[in-house]
Symmetry: D2
Subunit: 270 residues, 4 copies
C-alpha cells in the first residue's frame, strides 16, 4: 500500500485516481470486532475466519474503522452519480472560484441504447461510426470551450459562464470514505448495470482495496460480489428441485462446506 | 393507519409504542420512483410490481420518501441498542432535567445462556425459579429507587443521583425514521438472534408497517425477511447439486417463476 | 399550509418548486422538546419562548421532528450545489432511463466577475449586452439539443448521448429533508455570497417555511439570519469600546432586553 | 502526535482515553481547501490565515478530511450521551457477548442540584457528606455486581443478567470521527453546561486535538469556543450603545483588527 501512495492511475482519456492517504487495515478491523473479548492479536487464519464471518453476517461496524482518501478526476456526468453517495467527505474543484480547464471526455467507442434495459446500453457501433461520433464530440467540445472563454474574456462571472459547459467536462475532488461505505459503493458501481464510465473508476479503486485489505476483499468477493440472493418464492422452488436429487442429504453432508453452510442447504431439503 | 394514530400498544411490563405521525404511502414510493418516466398514477398491480422490483434490486431511495414518528417507552438496556441506529431523529427523556420514574423492567421468564451462541440465550428456567428471580429483581429495583430517591432528597443533583439506577429502568423517546432505514432496522432487530426484549418492540412496529405500506411490507418479506443469500462457494455447490436433478432445465422452464428468476436458476445449471 | 399543497411556484425561466407533503409543526417541535417534562400543551406564548430558547441555544434535535417534501426543477449547475447537502432524501430524473427534455436556463441578466470575491459576481451588464449574451446562449442551447437528439436518433445510448448537454439543462427531483437540516441549508443558500440562481430557490422555500412553522422561522431570523458572531479578538475590542460609553452599565440594566441577554452584555463591560 | 499514539490517559476513577490512530493534519486541510486553486504548498503563515478564514466562515468540508480513532472507557450514563452523536463510527464492548467487569464509577465529590438550571448542578457537599455518599455508592455497586454474578452463576443469560447493573458501570468502545464532527462535539461537551463527568473526557480529547492540529485548534478557540453570537435584538441594542462612544468610528478604524472585522463593527455604527 505504501508503494501505491501518491501514484496516479489513469482512467478514461483525461481522468485519474490518486491514493492520498489511508488509515487501518485487516488487522484493525479484527481488533475493533474483538473489543468484547479483549482478545490479543490472533493468527492470520483466525483473522481471516473472523472477517469472513463479519462480512457474511453483515456486521458492518468494524469496517467503518478503516478510512481511505483519494483524489479523483472525472467527467461531470459521472461525478454527479458519484457524489449521490452521501456517506463520504468531499472537496471539489469550484467553477465559481476558478476557471474551468479545457478538458472534456471524448469517448472513442459509442454504445447503443439497450432495448431490454431502460437505463443501460448494449452493443457498440462500428469503427467508422465511432470515429465520426468522436470527431463530432471533439469539435463540439472545443467550440463550447471557446464560447466559455469568450464569456470569461468579456468579464462575465465564472459562475455564469460555466453554464454552457457540457456534462463531459472534467472536474476534480478529494474523496474520503470509510471501508464499509466504500464496499457498498463498489458493489453498486462495479455492477454490470452501472454505466461503463463509472465502472472503470470503481474497478480501479477495487484494485486498490485488494492491496489495502486483501482478507476483507476476498470475503467481500465470496459473500457479496459473487453471491446470489433468492427470494422466498425462489427458495421454495429451489427446495422442490433439491428434493429431486438422489441422495441429496448425503451429498450435502459429505461435502467440504462449513457446518453453518451445510445447515442452510439441509434446511432446503426439509 | 388513521385508526392507529394515537393508539398506544403495550410492550413488556411497562413499555409502549405510540404512533404519533407519518408521511407517505406505497403510492408515494411509486410516485418518487417514477420521476424519470413522469408517469401518471398506475394500477395497484403495476404499483405492486414496481415496488417488488425496487425491493429486489435494492433501489432504496424511493423508500426514504416515507417517514414515521413513534413515541416509545422501553428499558435502558434495549434503548442503548436501539439508539445505536444512527439514521433516525430522537428526543429522549432526560434524567438530568427531570427525575426518573419508579418504573423497571422485571422479567417473568428468564432465559438461559446459550452454549452455542456467545451473544444469545437458549431455553428457559422452570416456573419456580422464574418466580424467585423475578422477586429478587423486583425487590432489588425498589431498593435501588429508594437509594436514588434518597440522594435526590438530600439535594444531590439529578445528573449524579441517577448513576445508581439499573439498566432495567424505563426511558421514553420520540423516534422519527424513514421507511428505508426502518426496514433495515427491522431486519436486524426482528432477527431470531436479536435479544427477545428488543424483538417484541420490532415485531410490534412491523405490524404497524404492514398496515401503513402493505405492498412494500409484502415485497420486503419476500426479498429480505424470507430470502436466503448464498456465498460463491455455496453457489458452486448448489449448482453441482442441481445438475443432478433429472430434467432440471425443463423443470425450471416449466415453472411459474418470473422470467428473471428462471434465468437466475438456469444460470446455476451451466 | 394546506393551501400551498400541490401549488407550483415558478423559479427562473423554466424552474419550479412544488410542495408535495410535510409532517409536523411548531407545536410538534415543542411537544418533542417537552418530553422530559411530560408537559401538556402550553399557550402559544410559552411555545414561542421555548422555540426561541431552543434556536438560540442550538438545541437542534426537536427541529428534526418536522419533515418536508418538495418537487424541484432546476438547472444542473445549481442542482450540483443543491445535492451536495447530504442530509436529505432525493429521487432525481435519470438521463440514463429517459430522454432529457429540451429545457435550458437562459439568463436574461448577466453578472460580472467580482474582483474582491473570488467566487462571486458583482454588477451587471447593460441591456444590450445582456440581450446579445442571452441570444448567444439560446442559440447554443438549441444547437446542443439538436446534437443530443441526433445521437439519440442514431441509436446512441441515452447515457452517452447526454454528455454533450450543458450545465444549464433542467433536471427534476423529489427532495425530502427535516426542518433542522433545511434551516442549515437555507442559512447557507440564502446568504448574499451564494450564487443568485440558487438563492432564488432558497428564498422561495423560505417563504414556504414561514407559512409552515412561523414561530420557528421568526426565531431563526432573530438568532441566525440576522445575528452576528464576534470572534474572541473582536469581543475584546468590543468590550474596550463599550467601556467608553458613559453610564454603559446603567444603560444595559435599564434596557428592555431579556435577563440572559443583559448578562451577556454586562459581561463585556467587566 | 506520534508520541501520543498508544498512550493511555486516565479519566475519572477507572476510565481512560487511548489514541489509536489518526489521518491528516493542518496541512491536509489546506490542501483540500486549495483544490480549486491547484495551489502548491504555502508558508505556515498562509496556512494559518486560510484555516482561520475557513473556521470563521464555517467552510467545514476540509475539516472532514482529518480523522481520529480513540479507544475510550467510560461509565454508561456518560456513554449514553456520547453515543447520541451520530456522525461517528463505534465498536462497543457487548454485555451480551461477554461478562461485564466489576468496575463502577464512584464519585468522590457530589454536586448539588442547581436551582436555576434544570439540567445542571451547582455547588458541592462538604467532605464528610461526600465521603458518606461515596461509601454508600461503593457498597451498593459491589452488592449489585454480586447479584449480577449470582445470576450468571445460575446460568441466566448474560443479556438478561446485566439488566441489574447500574448506569455507573464502565463500558469501552472504539470511537472514530472526523475533525469537523469532533469539533462540533467538543464545543457541546466542553461547554460549562455539559455534565462534568463528560466534560473531563472532552477536555482530554481537546488536549490531543491541540497537539494534532494546532492551527485549527487555535482558530476554533478564537471563532467558536471564545466567540459570542448576538441576536438581531442584541445587535440593535449594541449598535445603539456603540453610537454613544465618543469618536467610535475613529476608534475602530485605528484599531489593529483585520479589515473584514473593522467592517463588521463599523456597520454597527450605521
Amino acid at each position: 500500500m505504501e508503494q501505491l501512495k501518491g501514484k496516479v492511475f489513469n482512467v478514461l482519456d483525461h481522468g485519474s485516481i490518486e491514493l492520498i492517504d489511508w488509515m487501518g487495515s485487516d488487522v484493525d478491523i479484527c481488533c475493533a470486532a474483538r473489543i468484547s473479548t479483549g482478545g490479543a492479536t490472533k493468527t492470520p487464519e483466525e483473522d481471516a475466519r473472523l472477517i469472513s464471518y463479519l462480512v457474511e453476517n453483515v456486521h458492518t461496524s468494524p469496517f467503518e474503522m478503516c478510512e481511505i482518501k483519494l483524489k479523483i478526476k472525472m467527467p461531470l456526468f459521472i461525478a454527479r452519480q458519484w457524489l449521490r453517495h452521501r456517506m463520504a467527505s468531499v472537496n471539489e474543484y469550484s467553477g465559481r472560484y476558478s476557471e474551468m480547464k479545457d478538458e472534456f471526455y471524448v469517448p472513442d467507442v459509442f454504445r447503443k441504447q439497450s432495448m431490454n434495459n431502460h437505463q443501460g446500453s448494449e452493443g457498440e457501433f462500428d469503427n467508422q461510426t465511432n470515429l465520426k461520433f468522436s470527431k463530432t464530440i471533439d469539435v463540439y467540445s472545443r467550440d463550447t470551450f471557446t464560447l466559455y472563454q469568450h464569456f470569461i474574456d468579456q468579464g462575465v462571472s465564472r459562475e455564469m459562464s460555466r453554464i454552457v459547459l457540457p456534462l463531459s467536462t472534467y472536474t476534480s475532488f478529494f474523496w474520503k470514505i470509510d471501508l464499509h461505505n466504500l464496499l457498498k459503493f463498489l458493489k453498486l458501481r462495479m455492477d454490470p448495470t452501472a454505466q461503463e464510465e463509472i465502472r472503470v473508476y470503481a474497478d480501479k479503486i477495487w484494485e486498490i482495496v485488494k492491496t489495502w485489505v486483501p482478507i476483507t476483499a476476498k470475503a467481500f468477493e465470496d459473500h457479496h460480489l459473487n453471491s446470489k440472493t433468492f427470494s422466498s418464492e425462489e427458495i421454495l422452488f429451489l427446495s422442490e428441485m433439491l428434493k429431486k436429487v438422489p441422495d441429496g442429504e448425503k451429498f450435502i453432508k459429505e461435502s467440504h462446506l462449513k457446518k453453518r453452510w451445510k445447515d442452510k442447504l439441509l434446511e432446503l431439503l426439509k
